[in-house]
């Protein structure tokens, strides 16, 4: 029997970049095939070719043994290929049924019949979706299932999951794995795009690893260790385990008392949050995206008003202090969105590296900037943090890759030897090598006595690095756990709002 999908020798070049070079991949019927690779390894381009969004320079696509020209997503849909997107494409005010029927090319809609169909489909795959529920009223995990149902309703039997677990709690992730297994048993085939090795180990049958636009191998997951796959992805040995010396019992340096923060639409984003970060400690802040951690981090950094409550740094009240004042007191901040907050892309790297210190000696005197000092300082960060930039400090930040931009921001904030560092997703979007490196630097900073608040959506990162874990759910600190009690299950349940009286805001 021919494979359901065979992509043969796909090559696709964008100006200056070979996004895919000679990639071949086969998806057998009834298998879960993981597609693993760092950012920019070519996963998205490859899927773009499959959906007809990109025309390959050479190579061909066979669906169930027949050579096909796929000119666009409708062609792919007609062939039974469906994508479960990372960012859901759902209308919040519509019901599940209405969302699934959206885009149906018919004049009259028979909602009743459709709802019945969807209920049946949901039951068959054990999805537990209520067809009449409004999207805005159901959880993120449920929304994802609606996306899956949408594909099933359109008779897709080849499903592509694009980093589906990024938005899920561990429990929801486990549920999704079950659903994927059940889909397979119903005769579907799945391509599973992810960076998370343990998920591949848990659910996938085979795994194709991409590196720099090339296939570095296709392996049977059962016979391959996570370390081996990581090595294939990065191209060198990677240590997946962080070595962390025991924490010292330091004094609290950064303390929040009953902090309430409003969000962009004046809703209460953070409610009565209290926690403290001690000297030489990493406090992890775990939570599902959108539960108030961004607003909290901004408020702590001084970019968002603290509506009520108080914040102290080394005993000094900084609740109303300006950003500059906080910086002078020793607060550093790796912002969530480096393109928006962290860097001025039209400025040179050197100017960006001095962004927090530009108005202080030796970088300026009497209001005049000292470019020599700025360049020297930039040079130091560039070499210390291995920032790759074509023309050193004079490189425009815009011309740098995402990973190097992040290293620049991290380097800038760490080089200041802060007393407190708020690190928001410091490794977001980075490759395994850079992640390893930034983790090492965070731990070194911890050794130096810095109090670090690590905000991350990646629970593995939090659990690996943190000495204690605070869990945020719907704007409340659901609890603070010691490293010993913080396991995936407990934290996951708290992230979902269970246990400590979750409340709908």
């Amino acid at each position: 029997m021919p494979p359901v999908i065979e992509m043969r020798n796909i090559t696709k070049t964008f100006p200056g970049v070979a996004a895919n070079s000679n990639i071949s991949i086969t998806l057998e019927e009834g298998e879960i095939h993981a597609l693993l690779g760092e950012n920019g390894a070519g996963k998205t381009t490859l899927m773009g070719v499959l959906f007809g969004l990109h025309r390959p320079d050479s190579g061909s696509v066979y669906i169930r043994g027949e050579k096909r020209r796929i000119a666009g997503p409708p062609d792919a849909a007609a062939l039974g290929i469906g994508m479960v997107h990372q960012h859901f494409k759902l209308v919040p005010a519509f019901t599940v049924t209405e969302n699934i029927m959206l885009g149906t090319k018919r004049f009259l809609l028979n909602t009743k019949k459709a709802a019945a169909d969807i209920a049946a489909l949901s039951a068959r795959h054990g999805l537990g979706v209520d067809p009449h529920a409004k999207i805005e009223a159901v959880s993120v995990g449920m929304q994802q299932r609606v996306e899956i149902l949408k594909m099933l309703h359109r008779n897709a039997d080849i499903l592509i999951f694009d980093e589906p677990t990024a938005v899920l709690t561990p429990q929801e992730t486990a549920e999704l794995m079950k659903i994927m297994r059940s889909l397979i048993s119903q005769g579907k085939s799945i391509i599973f795009i992810t960076h998370k090795l343990h998920e591949i180990k848990a659910v996938a049958d085979r795994c194709t690893v991409l590196r720099a636009g090339k296939v570095s191998g296709t392996v049977n997951v059962a016979d391959t260790s996570a370390e081996q796959m990581a090595e294939m992805m990065v191209g060198r040995k990677v240590s997946l385990n962080v070595v962390k010396p025991p924490p010292r019992e330091g004094q609290p340096v950064f303390a929040a008392q009953n902090i309430t923060v409003w969000g962009a639409r004046r809703e209460t984003a953070v409610r009565q949050a209290s926690f403290e970060v001690r000297e030489g400690e990493i406090l992890g802040l775990a939570g599902v995206d959108g539960n108030g951690q961004s607003e909290l981090a901004e408020a702590l950094a001084g970019l968002r008003k603290i509506h009520s409550g108080s914040l102290t740094l080394r005993g000094k009240d900084i609740t109303r202090a300006s950003v500059k004042k906080r910086m002078r007191q020793g607060l550093a901040h790796i912002p969530e969105d480096r393109g928006k907050r962290g860097l001025i892309l039209d400025f040179s790297l050197a100017d960006n590296l001095a962004l927090a210190l530009y108005d202080r000696p030796p970088f300026s005197r009497h209001g005049l900037r000292d470019f020599n000092q700025i360049n020297l300082y930039a040079q130091k960060i560039i070499s210390d943090f291995d920032v790759r930039a074509a023309s050193g400090g004079q490189t425009s930040a815009r011309a740098m890759s995402g990973g190097n931009r992040q290293k620049a921001v991290v380097g800038r904030e760490m080089e200041r030897k802060p007393a407190v560092l708020i690190a928001v997703q410091p490794t977001r979007g980075l490759d395994v090598g850079s992640i390893e490196y930034i983790h090492k630097r965070l731990l070194a900073l911890r050794e130096d006595g810095c109090a670090i608040l690590l905000v991350s959506l990646d629970l593995d990162e939090i659990l690996e690095l943190s000495d204690r874990v605070a869990v945020i759910s719907r704007g409340r600190i659901a609890g603070v756990l010691g490293a010993a009690e913080a396991d995936k299950n407990t934290v996951g349940l708290m992230m979902a709002g269970a246990g400590k009286g979750a409340e709908v805001t």
């Binding site: 964008f14 390894a41 773009g48 938005v167 500059k324 907050r341 530009y358 900037r369």
Partner: protein, 370 residues
């Protein structure tokens, strides 16, 4: 192996100017004239016969100085991400405020003091006028384009009212303000002697000084760095502890002051009275000067000189060759179009190449990573 690199904006500006002249030449060919003869006359008109009299040169220079100051006003605001379309109103208010101040001065006031009063009051008037728009933008998020255009008309009618009712030229002519004696303006006798022209005035030096000063502020000072940071990315500026609202107000104040200086150079030097019922066209030409000069002080000075030449030489071209002087305006217009088009092209192409290069990675950056 250091290679001398010509900055891209410079190449673009030169390309735009060159394209403008080529297009102008084509127009001349179409109407059956020789473009070489035409352009020769145009440039000759801007200098005439310098051995005999520098009056044409002076005329060109002083026009350029006014264009330069008004262009600097737009360029300065532009660097901070603001579009100060209200330079005309700020010129008018600056000129009017300075005139009123001078009316109050005793006639035996020393020249140096008179000049100082004119410059300070003129800059102050312009700054206040633009500052209103800056505060509106910073406090209430009101778009500065809308605010400055409206302020142009507020200036227009305010000056109209006061000139007609309090400072008319005489009992009969109420549409022009009381004419200032040369001694009470920016006009200098020794300049008049050199250039054989009363129009040339102290504003010439002000323009040169402002080119240097704005360049210095923008590129060498902490203050300028903060302003540019606000202009380039206000979120990152806030992150670095720079108050974006303060930056906005400061930038508008300075832009207004520069326009005010353009205003006094025009109303208290080039001419010595204010005519009501018109906004000074120099205020709008500043937009083009800043555009072609790519918002850099040096570029603005060069663009102002070029436009000054075209402006002052065009009548001579008409007389000499019969090519209508609107053709010089066409050349200016075409240069502006090309400048705008090239900047647009640059932006689009940057976006396109970025999209293409980032295409493989772009969609993947959305989620959390291990």
């Amino acid at each position: 192996m250091k290679r001398l690199r010509v900055p891209k904006p410079f190449i673009f500006a030169v390309a735009a100017v060159f394209s403008g002249f080529v297009a102008g030449a084509l127009l001349m060919l179409i109407i059956g004239k020789n473009p070489i003869v035409g352009y020769a006359a145009l440039f000759r008109g801007a200098v005439k016969n310098p051995a005999v009299s520098l009056s044409a040169v002076g005329q060109t220079l002083i026009m350029s100085a006014i264009l330069c100051l008004s262009g600097l006003s737009l360029a300065f605001a532009g660097k901070v991400g603001l579009f100060n379309i209200g330079a005309a109103g700020q010129m008018l208010i600056g000129g009017f405020a300075a005139s009123v101040a001078v009316y109050r001065l005793p006639t035996d006031c020393p020249k140096a003091l008179t000049i100082a009063v004119i410059l300070v009051v003129g800059a102050f008037g312009g700054a206040v006028w633009a500052g209103v728009a800056g505060v509106l933008k910073a406090r209430f998020g009101i778009n500065e384009v809308v605010a400055t255009i409206m302020l142009n008309w507020v200036a227009f009618w305010t000056v109209d009212y006061f000139v007609r009712n309090y400072f008319p030229r005489d009992a009969y002519v109420k549409t022009t303000s009381r004419v200032l004696p040369d001694a009470m303006s920016l006009r200098l006798q020794w300049l008049e002697k050199i250039f054989d022209s009363r129009f040339v005035n102290f504003g010439l030096f002000v323009a040169v000084a402002m080119v240097v000063l704005t360049w210095f502020i923008m590129n060498k000072t902490v203050f300028g760095f903060e302003l540019r940071a606000v202009g380039a990315n206000r979120f990152a500026a806030e992150y670095a502890g720079i108050h974006a609202g303060t930056g906005t107000v400061c930038a508008m104040l300075i832009a207004g002051a520069l326009a005010g200086l353009a205003g006094v150079t025009y109303y208290l030097g080039y001419v010595t009275s204010i005519q009501v019922g018109v906004l000074p066209s120099y205020g709008y030409d500043g937009i083009a000067v800043a555009l072609v000069g790519q918002n850099s002080p040096g570029g603005v000075a060069a663009a102002a000189l070029l436009f000054g030449v075209l402006r002052s030489g065009k009548d001579f071209m008409t007389i000499e060759t019969g090519i209508m002087n609107e053709l010089a305006d066409c050349v200016i217009a075409i240069i502006i179009y090309f400048s705008a088009a090239i900047m647009l092209y640059e932006k689009l192409s940057a976006k396109l190449t970025k999209k293409r290069a980032a295409a493989p990675a772009a969609a993947e950056t959305g989620g959390g990573k291990p």
